[in-house]
Amino acid sequence: MLRMLFRRLALGGLTVFLVSVIIFAGVEMLPGDACTAYLEREAQGQRLENCRRDFGLDQPAHARYLDWASGAIQGDFGSNVAGTRDIATLVGDRLKNSLMLGGLSMLVGVPLALVLGVIAGLTRDRLPDLTISTLAIFAMTIPEFVTATVLILVFSIWLNWVPGIVLTGASAPALDYFPEILLPMAVFTLVMCAHILRTVRSSVIEVLGSDYVQMATLKGVPRGQIVRRHVLPNALLPVINVVALTVAWLLGGVVVIETVFNFPGLGRLMVESIAMRDLPTVQAIALIVATIYVGVNLTADMLTMLANPRLRTLHTRRP
């Protein structure tokens, strides 16, 4: 068990390391560097050389990687290309906002997905299931910006219930985002809920068809007790991993949702920095997002291991 945990931790660490190398190498391969971006048209001759010397860009690549990576571990990402802001504080506020958006959506979306998924699974191919499953397909296939646009149109413009755009600044206290945060939350919740409930549904159906459920049915155990004692605990286990995968996937989707609603989160900062070619900021965001991704997946694996004794041996690694 402990060896297994250490192994997973080490693999996670290795993945983060590889990601950092990919990020660094990727930016390295792009034409131009921080100095050509900073000096723009004047980036030539002596000025360019001076700038490169000042920022240490004349060092070999591996030395600069070590410099960047050791700074990043201590939470120091340097300053942005314009040299005006410290990346760590710039990213910090945005990260806090994105985590708030994602966390609140999960708080609503995951329980909702569990309830709806179990209902759909128990009423397989009957009306409740068909309704839920069809709605889920719509919610998960239609692009987030389309869902967002339709929700704004209905709830903000036609019904005038909630504001359709976030006007609060990036470093405002959390409570200031209400009620503006409600619509972005709704889009987030919708997409997340749809993905998770589909897994819950098929997982419930699978367990319902298993031998031990059949045995219990044959013994005459009441249906409610079968569901509570046998189906739910077994069906909900694989869901932990899917929640993790969905969260990870939403790290990308957050970009679109935040841009649509003008929400000052990490995703919008990412698009802005890419558009402005602020590569140091892009690198920092990429590393943070990738670390969250790996962390969430790792946590999910460990939770699954804790909850399921069958997975605690070394050689039953799940694919």
């Binding site: 693999l11 290795l14 993945t15 983060v16 590889l18 990601v19 190398v21 990919i22 990020i23 990727g26 930016v27 792009l30 034409p31 397909i137 719509f138 296939t141 239609i142 692009p143 987030e144 910006f145 389309v146 646009t149 339709v150 704004i152 149109l153 413009i157 036609w158 993905h195 589909r198 897994t199 549904r201 098929s202 694989p238 899917v242 995968l245 969905t246 990870a248 996937w249 790290l251 990308g252 970009v255 679109v256 841009t259 649509v260 990412m270 698009v271 890419i274 558009a275 070619r277 892009v282 965001i285 990429a286 997002v289 990738a290 991704y293 790996v294 694919p319």
Partner: protein
């Protein structure tokens, strides 16, 4: 889930295709999905001859006009006919993703099969790199490349094909692992066949179904990605009509001209839902369970 077409085991690729197709259209989701997809493909092909108005014709007199007999879906903020633009708006997306999807499935599939067969250390190392790539959100990877190299077809197609091929590696590798221990692969190995022969003659035919379903799913995700990029202003460049771009443009005027977003919203959604329904029916027809998979 295992109700694969009985004729699926007979040799003869064309016959098998027909059998799969017949099975596909018998399922309600397959029939609806295929109709949507084929309808969209047909419209994309024929739309240049169908559109009632010039899609780039700007008119200051009819800006943000309501739907009427002349302009069925109204006009946009530059006075262009929205109906014509909706008709033409899928061409770019369908063309680019239609080329990039087979490319992604092919390269991801071959690499995945290769590493599934080779196994061992090489495989471990590759999978770590794949994991590392997957840890970065797709939109970040694509945006960086697009901002650097521009938004032309020649940039978008390879970019989409490259990044969307990486998750295919995992699928192909897993499917290969299921097959590689079977007797006929062992027999081919024992006969001394080269790896390439084993891949082409033994593995590819067995992994093909999984790749086919994966390709259908990839297509819908790629379309989603492409229209999201267009929406953010990094995809199709104006004045070429594109649904994502049209929605982005019309959003600003939504409070007093809401009809501008409806056309492209319905068009884009119906195509993506059509692809998903088809993929779903295809997976069931081929007996592949993809319920557990979340998009990456």
């Amino acid at each position: 889930m295992t109700d694969a077409a009985p004729s699926a085991r007979h040799p003869g690729a064309a016959l098998r295709m027909l059998a799969i197709l017949r099975d596909l259209v018998r399922r309600p989701s397959g029939a609806v999905g295929l109709t949507l997809v084929l309808g969209h493909a047909l419209l994309a092909l024929l739309s240049p001859w169908l559109v009632p108005h010039d899609v780039t014709a700007v008119s200051a007199l009819s800006m943000l006009g309501q739907p009427d007999a002349l302009h069925w879906l109204g006009t946009d903020h530059l006075g262009r006919d929205i109906f014509s633009r909706v008709l033409m708006g899928g061409r770019e997306a369908i063309w680019i993703t239609g080329i990039a999807t087979p490319l992604a499935v092919m390269w991801g599939g071959l690499v995945g099969i290769w590493f599934g067969l080779v196994g061992g250390r090489t495989d471990d190392v590759l999978m770590r790199i794949v994991d590392a790539f997957l840890a970065l959100p797709w939109i970040l990877k694509m945006l960086v490349l697009i901002v650097t190299f521009g938004t032309g077809d020649l940039v978008l197609i390879p970019t989409l094909a490259f990044f969307y091929g990486i998750p295919v590696i995992r699928i192909a590798r897993a499917a290969t692992h299921d097959v590689v221990a079977r007797d006929y692969v062992q027999a081919a190995r024992a006969r001394g066949h080269r790896r390439l022969d084993i891949i082409v003659r033994e593995l590819l035919p067995n992994v093909r179904d999984a790749l086919l379903v994966e390709g259908a799913m990839r297509w819908s995700w790629m379309l989603l990605a492409f229209s999201s990029l267009s929406f953010l202003g990094f995809g199709v460049s104006p004045p070429t009509p594109d649904w994502g771009l049209m929605i982005a443009d019309a959003r600003g005027f939504m409070s007093f001209a809401p009809w501008g977003v409806l056309g492209p919203v319905i068009a884009l959604s119906s195509l993506i839902i059509g692809i998903n329904l088809t993929a779903d029916a295809l997976a069931r027809t081929l007996g592949i369970d993809r319920a557990q998979k979340a998009p990456v």
